[in-house]
């Protein structure tokens, strides 16, 4: 293993814990989060056209607060207004 590229174990510990704690705290499994994303996209698509490929939805921590953060770019619309 190359000394200079070896990822130190403390970093993996922290990254793994960040993920685990978010799911522990919200009591939401990764599979449930996927289902939530699908439902959310379906609901939004009823009203406005979005680009499903560009959507990013995830749980984030801020201190002891959990946030569901969604970045949902709208598809460029060519407006066909009459007149």
């Amino acid at each position: 293993m190359n000394f200079f590229t070896r990822k130190k174990s403390a970093s993996s510990a922290k990254e793994r814990l960040q993920l685990v704690l978010v799911h522990d705290r919200t009591d939401l499994t990764p599979a449930q989060l996927e289902a939530l994303k699908d439902d959310l996209l379906k609901a939004i698509s009823k009203y406005i056209e979005i680009d499903p490929e560009a959507v990013q939805i995830g749980l984030e921590r801020d201190g002891r607060e959990q946030k569901l953060v969604a970045d949902i770019p709208l598809r460029a619309v060519t407006r066909n207004r009459a007149g």
């Binding site: 130190k8 174990s9 403390a10 970093s11 510990a13 922290k14 793994r16 814990l17 960040q18 685990v20 704690l21 522990d24 705290r25 921590r61 201190g63 002891r64």
Partner: protein
């Protein structure tokens, strides 16, 4: 005088709760405070042996609750510190012999005569843990810089928040400064960032802790031990004193080493 009730808990077992209770109680008593500690681990008594008082037990906490003795009869006075007492856990009774209201009642009876009541919670988040946190004015969460211990500590912090026990304070135990420096152990900053609670103290890994337990003499009584110093500092903070964190010569790693070499720090 009315005692402050402080409970130490962790979620995971084996992170050093009992050692921390014995050391904080001893350090507070060395500072002239009147202290009583309670072993909350019914069926798995061990605070007595860490404190070196195992041969003096006649009655235990369940004897008090079930009326076989008076509270004072179950309080074992320390060998060296006359203002420190231990109320041992029962060794043979079943866990349901104690309820949260029993713990509240015992603590209320103790409060007028002491400065601190320190409760050693059992591992887990079951009945014994609920008993231990019920009477607490302040909860201290003990963890090690390891993924399993930090994860369980986070669960406990979540439960304490849900129970409206306020935000607990963190004791980070068994930090190895060399491993942290090599980025092979979570640093204090990492653990604080993950748990999102306030730090009360960091205890470095120190072989004197085991030596102290072996002798039944908590490491705070060893003036030269680093862990002993860390626990004495934490005891001072519990008394409201502003004591800076010990320099563990570990934070910052290579960069701070370069800074030291070049005289910039």
């Amino acid at each position: 005088m009315t005692a402050q009730v402080i409970t130490l808990t962790s979620g995971k077992g084996g992170v050093g709760k009992t050692t921390a209770v014995a050391n904080l109680a001893t350090a507070l008593a060395m500072d002239g405070k009147r202290v009583v500690c309670m072993d909350g681990d019914i069926g798995l008594r061990n605070l007595d042996v860490v404190m070196g008082l195992e041969n003096r037990i006649v009655y235990d906490i369940v004897d008090v609750i079930e009326g076989r003795c008076k509270l004072k009869q179950a309080m074992i006075r320390d060998k060296k510190l006359p203002e420190m007492y231990l109320i041992p856990a029962a060794q043979t009774r079943d866990k349901n012999a104690v309820s949260p209201s029993d713990m509240m009642r015992i603590c209320n009876d103790l409060k007028p005569d002491f400065d601190f009541v320190i409760i050693d919670s059992p591992a887990g988040i079951e009945r014994g843990f609920r008993n231990a946190i019920a009477p607490a004015d302040k909860v201290l969460v003990v963890t090690n810089p390891e993924v399993s211990a930090v994860r369980d500590a986070d669960r406990v912090v979540g439960i304490l928040e849900a129970e409206e026990k306020g935000s607990p304070l963190l004791i980070l135990n068994r930090l190895n400064p060399t491993l942290v420096k090599n980025n092979d152990m979570l640093s204090a900053e990492d653990v604080l960032d993950l748990l999102g609670i306030q730090l009360l103290g960091i205890v470095p890994e120190d072989e004197n802790v085991v030596i102290g337990s072996n002798k039944g003499a908590p490491v705070v009584t060893d003036a030269k031990s680093r862990a002993g110093q860390a626990f004495r500092n934490i005891a001072k903070r519990l008394q409201g004193q502003d004591v800076p964190l010990m320099n563990l010569e570990s934070q910052g790693g290579l960069w701070s080493a370069i800074q030291r070499l070049t005289g910039r720090k």
